[in-house]
C-alpha cells in the first residue's frame, strides 16, 4: 500500500440543496475552515455547509491539540501536575493553578493563610485583566482591524506579565500556587508597582473604549448577531462572560464565595440581549470591576506567612475520596475533579474545561448568519485550544 499517496481533498464538496418535498433548488457548499487559519484562536476547525454566504450547518472539529493531560495526571504525583495546569488555558495560568490548588486543598483539608489568599485574589484579577484585554484585541482583529488593536492590547499585557515574571520567574507559565498557599512571597516594592499598573489601567480602558465602544463598524457587526437565549445558555452548561451576557446572574465568586471574595465589594455586570456586543461590553465592565477588587486587595493585604505550616509537599498522600473544586476563570467555570485512592498519584484527574463546553452551542448561534459573522461569533466565545483539547 502506498501510504505516501496524497489524499483526496476533502475541503470543498458540493451538495444539492433540497426543498422539503425533495426537489433540488440549488447547491450547498461544504467548506472546512481548517485548523490553520488567520484567526488567532489556535488549531480549531469548523465544517461549515453554506447556502450562498449563509451558514446552514456548522460542526466544530477539534482534538488537534489533544495532549492527554488527564492521562499524564494519573501517572505523576499531585504536585508534579501543577506545571501542566499552566498549559491548559495558556493565557490564564494563575487561575488554572488556583483551581487545582483549591481542589487539592479541599481533598486534603489544608488551610490557606490570609496573606496567601490576598495574593491569590490579586493574581487572579490581574489574570482576568490581561485575558480580557487580549480577547478584545483578537476579537477586533477577527472583525478585520488587522494588527493595530492587538498592539495596544499586548502593550498593556506586557506590563502585567512583567509583574508575573518578577514574582514567579516566568511570564506565562507561572507555576505559582501550591497546596496550602503560594510559592514565594511578594515584597512591598512589587505591591507598589502593581498599584501603579492598576491605576494606569483605567486610563487605558478609557482609551480603548473611545475607539471601540461606539465605533460604527463594531456596532453594525456585533449587535443582534450571534444571539444566545437565556434558557439555552443554562441548559447548555455555558459559564463565564457568555452566560452573564445572556442575562443569567451566576458568577462563582458570588455563588461559591471561594477564597476571600466575600470580603470585596464588587458587582456582577449582566447583559440583556445575549449578542456579541453584550459579550464584549460584559468583558469591559468586568475589567472595571476587577480594578475595583484589585484596589481593595492591594490596600488591605496583611503581613504574615504565605504557606500553611502543616502542609507537607514531599510524600503527599491524601486520604482516599473524591472532590470537585471550581473557580471563576476568565473564560468560565474551570473545575477539577480528583479521585484519590491513598497513593501519591491521583486515580482519576479530570479537568472541566469551560471553552470546550461553551462550544456546544456554536452551531445554534451561527445558523442563518454569514460566514464572516461565524468568525466573529467564534471570537466572542473566547476559546483557547489548550483547554478545549487538553
Amino acid at each position: 500500500m502506498n501510504t505516501f499517496a496524497p489524499q483526496a481533498a476533502k475541503s470543498f464538496a458540493v451538495k444539492p440543496k433540497l426543498d422539503p418535498s425533495g426537489e433540488e433548488l440549488g447547491e450547498l457548499l461544504e467548506v472546512s475552515m481548517g485548523p490553520h487559519h488567520p484567526s488567532t484562536h489556535g488549531v480549531f476547525r469548523m465544517d461549515v455547509v453554506l447556502d450562498g454566504e449563509k451558514v446552514v450547518k456548522l460542526k466544530p472539529v477539534f482534538g488537534y491539540l489533544h495532549r492527554n493531560h488527564e492521562k499524564i495526571g494519573e501517572n505523576i504525583s499531585y504536585l508534579a501536575s501543577m506545571p501542566y495546569t499552566d498549559r491548559l488555558d495558556y493565557f490564564c495560568s494563575m487561575t488554572n493553578n488556583w483551581a487545582y490548588a483549591l481542589t487539592v486543598e479541599k481533598l486534603a483539608g489544608l488551610a490557606v493563610p490570609e496573606r496567601a489568599e490576598y495574593i491569590r485574589v490579586i493574581m487572579a484579577e490581574l489574570t482576568r485583566l490581561q485575558n480580557h484585554t487580549c480577547l478584545i484585541g483578537f476579537f477586533v482583529q477577527d472583525m478585520g482591524a488587522l494588527g493595530t488593536p492587538m498592539m495596544y492590547a499586548f502593550r498593556e499585557r506586557e506590563k502585567i506579565l512583567d509583574l508575573f515574571e518578577e514574582v514567579s520567574g516566568a511570564r506565562m507559565m507561572c507555576n505559582y500556587m501550591r497546596f496550602g498557599g503560594v510559592r514565594v512571597d511578594v515584597n512591598d516594592e512589587w505591591i507598589a508597582k502593581t498599584k501603579k499598573v492598576v491605576a494606569d489601567y483605567s486610563k487605558f480602558l478609557d482609551e480603548f473604549g473611545t475607539f471601540l465602544t461606539e465605533n460604527e463598524i463594531v456596532l453594525a457587526r456585533t449587535q443582534f448577531v450571534g444571539v444566545l437565549p437565556k434558557d439555552l445558555a443554562i441548559n447548555a452548561s455555558i459559564t463565564g462572560p457568555m452566560l452573564r451576557a445572556a442575562g443569567v446572574n451566576y458568577d462563582l465568586r458570588k455563588v461559591d464565595k471561594y477564597g476571600i471574595y466575600s470580603r470585596f465589594n464588587f458587582q456582577v455586570p449582566l447583559g440583556e440581549h445575549g449578542d456579541i456586543y453584550d459579550r464584549y461590553m460584559i468583558r469591559v465592565l468586568e475589567m472595571r470591576e476587577s480594578i475595583k477588587i484589585l484596589d481593595q486587595a492591594l490596600r488591605d493585604i496583611p503581613a504574615g506567612p504565605v504557606m500553611d505550616p502543616k502542609a507537607k509537599l514531599r510524600g503527599f498522600r491524601p486520604k482516599a475520596g473524591e472532590v470537585y473544586g471550581r473557580v471563576e476563570g476568565p473564560k468560565g467555570e474551570l473545575g477539577f475533579y480528583l479521585i484519590s485512592d491513598g497513593s501519591p498519584n491521583p486515580y482519576r484527574y479530570r479537568v472541566r474545561p469551560p471553552s470546550f463546553i461553551n462550544l456546544t452551542i456554536l452551531e445554534d448561534m451561527c445558523l442563518g448568519h454569514n460566514i464572516s459573522d461565524a468568525v466573529v461569533i467564534l471570537g466572542s466565545v473566547d476559546i483557547v485550544l489548550g483547554e478545549v483539547d487538553r
Binding site: 505516501f4 485548523p35 488549531v43 489533544h66 495532549r67 492521562k71 499524564i72 498592539m151 489548550g386
Partner: protein, 203 residues
C-alpha cells in the same frame, strides 16, 4: 574574491563591490516572511515577539502571512499532535522554495513535557527538516529573535554552487515530503526515514 582593504577604499569613494552570492543571500536573509503557524502556548510568545515591545519586524519578518504560498519561514510554535501532523506536512509542501523551518519550544523539538502521549508527535523533525531549534517552554520572545538572527546567519553563509548548495538550487534533493496517513493506533508511517534517523547512543 576582493580583499577587505580594497573594498573599504572603494566604499569611501562611494563604490560598492560585492559578489553575486553575497547580494543574493543578503536580500533573502533580511526579508524572511514567516507563516502564522502557532499551534499552542508558544504561539502567544510568537505573537508577543511580533508586537510593539519585542518588534520582530525590524529583522525583516515584516508581515506574518496566513497563506503558505506567500511565506518563507514556518515557525512551528507549539505541540504537534499526531492528528495535526499530516496537515503540518501538507502546509510545508505548499510553501514555495526556498523555505525554512524553526522548531520553537520544547514540544516542537521533541515532544516536550507531553512526551508520554499517545497523541503527541515526538518532535516535528520526524517529518520535516528543521533549520533552527529554540529550547524553552515557552521560549522568551528574545529567544525567538535570536533564532531569527541565527537563521539569517545561516542564510548569509550559504554557498550557491557546489555540493552543499541550498535545496532550492539542487534538483536532486526533494523539497516536498510525503504526507502521513491516520492509521489505527498511530500515524503511518510513524516517522520519515529520509528526514530523521534515531541517533546512535554511546554509553
Amino acid at each position: 574574491m576582493i580583499e577587505e582593504g580594497l573594498k573599504n577604499e572603494l566604499q569611501k569613494q562611494g563604490v560598492y563591490v560585492t559578489t553575486l552570492e553575497d547580494l543574493y543571500n543578503w536580500g533573502r536573509a533580511n526579508s524572511v516572511w514567516p507563516l502564522t503557524f502557532g499551534l499552542a502556548c508558544c504561539a502567544i510568545e510568537m505573537m508577543a515577539a511580533s508586537m510593539a515591545r519585542f518588534d520582530l519586524a525590524r529583522f525583516g519578518a515584516e508581515v506574518f502571512r496566513p497563506s503558505p504560498r506567500q511565506a518563507d519561514l514556518m515557525i512551528v510554535a507549539g505541540t504537534v499532535t499526531k492528528k495535526m501532523a499530516p496537515l503540518v506536512v501538507r502546509i510545508y509542501n505548499q510553501m514555495p522554495e526556498p523555505k525554512y523551518v524553526i522548531a520553537m519550544g520544547a514540544c516542537a523539538i521533541s515532544g516536550g513535557p507531553f512526551k508520554q502521549g499517545y497523541n503527541v508527535l515526538k518532535g516535528v523533525d520526524r517529518y520535516l527538516p528543521v533549520d533552527v531549534a529554540i529550547p524553552g517552554c515557552p521560549p522568551r520572545p528574545e529567544a525567538l529573535i535570536h533564532a531569527i538572527m541565527t537563521l539569517q546567519e545561516k542564510i548569509l553563509n550559504q554557498k550557491l554552487t557546489g555540493p552543499d548548495r541550498p535545496r532550492h538550487l539542487n534538483a536532486d534533493v526533494p523539497g516536498e515530503f510525503p504526507v502521513p496517513v491516520y492509521g489505527k493506533h498511530d500515524l503511518e508511517p510513524s516517522k520519515n526515514p529520509a528526514v530523521w534517523q534515531p541517533p546512535v547512543i554511546q554509553r
